[in-house]
């Protein structure tokens, strides 16, 4: 293995000297990835008890999931809330990020700090606060209430992604368009938007995922026929290990993996 003796960087270190680092890093990366993926084969086990590797393969738990009206209703609610959250949080976040970035107003910095508070305030506090306040106005157990809360949780992410995209974009292009007679709105939609569109798509996907995966606010604010998938999953996890959860988890992992790979693909395109 001659590459071992080659320099690892243009300093004095060879790959052999750094072998320990490669091994440690590999173990850590495996530890990061394996736990998530090990659920997948286990979900195809025939047994009540999750086994790895399964003695007998079957799609029993998937049938259980797809035939349960409780799980199906929860899944539909989660997807619905996720999409609506995406549709609310993305424009809201993009508008705010653009406004604060372009205006250069004295208050912009403070306003930015205010707009990312949903990331700083512990979620449990937002959850019980929303539960209490929504109770007063009849928003608990409604899609509207949950979407509102999730949009607030997701908008800081959108803002941060869009702000960093705008930072890498030359705003002078918009100024040129405006000096040629375009209104600010037209300049934004024709010149700026097409150039940050991939970041917008990424932030939208993240907004969907934020809502789809969110547990704590959903536990409090959603309920009844509008309970989310995560709320039911959490309840099932606290009581006993239901193999149906393995099947649902597998589906959720696939969804996140596809979305992540989509953003990576989009990211490489934007460069």
């Amino acid at each position: 293995m001659s590459w071992l003796n080659k320099p690892a960087s243009d300093t004095q270190i060879t790959h052999r000297d750094r072998l320990w680092l490669y091994i440690v890093a590999t173990i850590i990366m495996l530890l990061l990835v394996i736990p998530t993926f090990i659920v997948m084969p286990m979900s195809f086990s025939d047994s009540q008890y999750l086994e790895f590797p399964p003695d007998h393969w079957s799609v029993r738990w998937y049938i259980e999931y797809f035939e349960s009206s409780k799980w199906m209703r929860a899944t539909i609610t989660s997807i619905q809330v996720g999409i609506l959250t995406m549709l609310v949080a993305t424009p809201m976040g993009v508008m705010a990020a653009y406004a604060l970035f372009v205006s250069g107003h004295r208050a912009a910095k403070a306003l930015f700090a205010f707009l990312i508070t949903p990331m700083i305030v512990p979620v449990i506090l937002i959850a019980i606060g929303a539960f209490y306040a929504f109770g007063r106005v009849g928003l608990n157990n409604t899609i509207t209430g949950l979407v509102l809360a999730h949009a607030v949780l997701a908008s800081p992410l959108v803002m941060i992604i869009i702000t960093s995209a705008l930072r890498n974009y030359d705003l002078n292009q918009e100024r040129v368009a405006r000096s040629l007679g375009a209104t600010r709105m037209k300049a934004f939609f024709v010149i700026t938007l097409p150039q940050i569109k991939f970041s917008i798509v990424t932030s939208a996907l993240l907004a969907f995922l934020t809502s789809f995966d969110e547990v704590i606010v959903a536990i409090f604010v959603s309920g009844g026929s509008n309970a989310t998938l995560t709320k039911h999953m959490f309840a099932a996890l606290r009581d006993f290990i239901d193999p149906t959860i393995a099947a649902i988890s597998t589906i959720m992992i696939l969804v996140s993996t596809i979305l992540l790979l989509a953003t990576q693909f989009i990211g490489s395109k934007e460069k």
């Binding site: 090990i38 449990i124 949009a151 993996t257």
Partner: protein, 300 residues
């Protein structure tokens, strides 16, 4: 417009431009209104309400009884100690594991780093609930880890790895690791390799160069990442609730328990307020002391 402006009295054009500029700035800021209103509705008003409730005694008068209870009752003190303990331990584990990983990623050429970065990003994007569940399955008494360790004679009888502090720490470290690795990787990428060459040139051994040059320069990212991890840990609920098996009671869990069992909004709110204040004080103090604004929020 410019032609007509030339015929107008001196200074008028300037004045108009200024008012127009101000009007435009206001219009721009108004684009942020929906976001502001939503946050006011979901965060400011509800949390403000809780703040108010926490100072309301059982007789409906202003009182500090909920805060007094926190000092008097041992269970509260235990919860706070557990919360800090778990948060500090999780942060330390993340640093120990995350530093070599970030270092490894930062050393790699861009393309390879992008690929291996998926190992960090994939769990990051996967539902926290799913990952908690995965650990629950892995660490059980008859779980894969115990089976595997016993099959290679690492230990003889199944170890109790879950429904206790061990399980909680493993799960939380796994979930928090990306929050440390990503900022740390960012700060490592900014370190100029020339500095390491210069150190080598001046006779430093690789180890010396690392500790004297590289490590101090990567500290800002490490501290920023640790801070994020620590603060997020303080408010953690799902993972300790599932993997702690009732033995690890953190603040967020006690808040929920109080609401579920006693329906005592005052007590729950008071705990929440303490959690929020602790979070804000730590963030504020750290950003001020360590000048982390740029590392945490980017330069705005």
């Amino acid at each position: 417009m410019n032609a007509s402006a030339a015929q107008e009295p001196e200074g008028l054009n300037e004045k108009r431009l200024k008012t127009q500029g101000i009007r435009e700035q206001r219009m721009l800021l108004s684009l942020a209104t929906p976001a502001v209103l939503a946050i006011v509705a979901v965060v400011v008003i509800p949390v403000g309400w809780l703040f108010f409730l926490s100072f309301l005694g059982s007789d409906g008068q202003f009182s500090l009884e909920h805060y007094q209870k926190m000092i008097e009752y041992k269970s509260y003190a235990r919860t706070f100690v557990t919360t800090f303990q778990v948060s500090i331990l999780t942060t330390l584990i993340c640093i120990l594991i995350g530093y070599p990983l970030a270092y490894f990623l930062a050393m790699l050429p861009e393309r390879l780093a992008g690929f291996f970065m998926l190992a960090v990003l994939l769990p990051f994007w996967t539902s926290l609930l799913v990952r908690t569940y995965a650990w629950l399955v892995l660490l059980q008494k008859n779980g894969i880890l115990n089976d595997f360790a016993m099959s290679i004679d690492l230990w003889d009888s199944p170890l109790k790895l879950v429904h206790n502090l061990t399980g909680t720490l493993i799960g939380m470290a796994h979930i928090m690791l990306p929050f440390l690795v990503l900022p740390l990787y960012g700060s490592m990428k900014k370190i100029q390799r020339d500095l390491m060459h210069a150190a080598a040139n001046l006779g430093a051994s690789p180890v010396q160069a690392f500790w004297k040059i590289y490590f101090p320069m990567s500290l800002s990212g490490m501290v920023a990442g640790s801070l994020i991890v620590f603060v997020l840990c303080l408010g953690f609920y799902v993972t300790p609730a599932v993997l702690g098996g009732g033995r690890v009671v953190m603040v967020a869990m006690q808040i929920t328990a109080i609401l579920e069992n006693q329906f005592d909004w005052g007590a729950a709110s008071a705990l929440g307020v303490v959690l929020l204040v602790a979070t804000l004080v730590i963030l504020f103090a750290a950003t001020r002391l360590l000048k982390l604004d740029a590392a945490l929020f980017g330069k705005h």
